[in-house]
Assembly symmetry: C2
Homo-oligomer: 327 residues x 2
């Protein structure tokens, strides 16, 4: 199968028609027409087999996830997604794999009307790089550097599910046997949180005029909030007991394990954000309107770094605060 056919096959499965795409795949580059008056928001994330996803991940799930993690970055900026590019490196020209990948990618792209406008298919170890483009009004782009002392800290959804899903898939996990005997629908739900994350795009757009800073939880809550703290020049305190847990997490893990998953597990793709006092009352109502729950989990304080506190306000030390690919 020729390189061109692979891209074409993926493109056909992702056939979203957009008037702002003047010329899509098939030339040296795409020709796009940015809407006037908006800022262009661009992000890229790479997934490497065996590093960012288990080797056993299905092509469908990989297609979904590779787009989802990128859309999540746009969500964290409050941007509306429009265009994507895909650089797919494959060990061989496996049509079944490519069709599965295209299916998962297209399913999520269709939900958000994202057009695939460019790509490159190459031979090599399985690696997926996606680039996404979105737009947002210049005055209301969400950044990491706007948190102020006195702001409340929130997170959408529940935390730790994706990390628990990864443990369900890990044959070396000490608790694997217990997890293996959990109800199949509970296991499957946790695994789906790992492999089919939901980018919080509507929540990000709703937060544009409410949040002072925002980030998506990809490396782990404490690690990611650490970026807000560092960029904003503030400290953040998180109340361990307030961290939201799914019923699946509550059913399968005891409190210390659960906390480690919630505070340090990555791949949740929820939004963590700071909110000035004047807007705190609006957050849950405005997010509920777009079908997204949110929990108040802490506050922005003077100082630096992120501290996890127990019910008495005493700092808790976790072994693993987040994920660093080169640590």
């Amino acid at each position: 199968m020729a390189e061109f056919d692979l891209i074409d096959l993926i493109h056909k499965r992702c056939a979203i028609e957009r008037a702002d795409v003047r010329l899509g795949i098939g030339d040296d580059a795409a020709i796009l027409r940015p809407p006037p008056g908006l800022d262009l928001i661009v992000s890229t994330d790479t997934l490497v087999a065996g590093v960012h996803f288990p080797e056993m991940t299905s092509a469908q799930d990989l297609g979904w996830k590779s787009l989802a993690v990128n859309l999540s970055d746009l969500a964290a900026m409050g941007a509306m997604p429009v265009w994507a590019l895909l650089a797919l490196t494959l060990p061989d020209a496996d049509r079944t794999f490519v069709e599965g990948f295209a299916g998962g990618f297209a399913e999520l792209a269709a939900q958000h009307r994202v057009a695939l406008v460019g790509g490159d298919t190459t031979r090599g170890p399985l690696t997926v790089t996606v680039v996404v483009h979105g737009f947002a009004p210049p005055a209301h782009v969400l950044r990491r550097d706007g948190a102020q002392i006195g702001d409340a800290v929130f997170v959408t959804g529940t935390l730790g599910d994706a990390a628990a899903g990864l443990r369900c898939l890990d044959p070396r996990d000490a608790q694997a046997n217990a997890l293996f005997h959990a109800p199949p629908e509970t296991r499957e739900w946790l695994i789906s949180r790992l492999l089919r994350p939901t980018p919080r795009l509507a929540a990000g757009a709703a937060l544009r005029e409410l949040a002072s800073a925002c980030i998506d939880v990809s490396d782990g809550l404490l690690a990611d909030l650490g970026h807000i703290a560092a960029r904003s020049g503030v400290g953040i305190e998180i109340d361990a007991l307030e961290l939201p847990a799914s019923s699946a997490l509550l059913a399968l893990f005891d409190a210390p394990d659960r906390l480690a998953l919630q505070a340090g597990g990555g791949d949740d793709y929820e939004l963590a954000f700071s909110v000035p006092p004047a807007h705190v009352a609006d957050v849950q109502r405005d997010l509920a309107r777009v079908g997204c729950g949110a929990t108040r989990i802490g506050r922005v304080v003077a100082g630096q770094g992120v501290r996890l506190l127990d019910a008495n306000g005493t700092p808790i030390a976790l072994r693993r605060r987040g994920w660093d690919h080169f640590a």
Copy 2:
């Protein structure tokens, strides 16, 4: 070394200040301000170690080439480059490698005032994906689908040098011994054409109002002209004797070998383009103004596909017409 530090290190070496970059590296995404009234041109290319470049390639050359091959796509569209993103997958966090890579990348980025606005550094087999953004006036973007019967066909610069450079580096090459004894400056020049290609950005811009179709020569002249022929619904005839050769190519290869390199060798990153009769007289003058030579090599005809003709107008068959990563 942490993931963030790697990106930061590359970013610091590529510190191009642009007013249209509202927020660069360091948040979930870049915030960019497109200029009004222009179309956005976006392209991506991936380079995989051992597939797209020899394993022995220096980090500096790889940094240069990974940006050059992408800028070449913008040149083929007649676009002016503005922003780049870099997804770099590395076996380990080798600071020396990253500094070398950043140096080569930054050297070319500075020449064209391209700002590095985003990226992702991951661990895995050495793979480089670059995404470039440029702008062009909507009415004058160069495409592959505009060639008309009766147009002349041109190519910039000389052909086959990069493929000859690759043979100089290949220990299995039958002619390696002769090439090894060639004058060092000749070998080095050919190798530099492979590892440090020049994206023809000024030439592409100069061709906006002259060319009817354009492509960059990455896979090999005949293969790439085949894309123009297919997209334009025409045939193309190329006169083998007209193909431009460098003095290095003339000195080191006999005529049949030279023709194979010129017509089928990839990685030249010259521009091949069609020109309506009314503009033919302007091409060489307008390109000379931007310091780029061009040669008339053939014509657009009725039919389909690309034919290479000898001095008598008889078609010549080549063993290898171009490069296809999955062929």
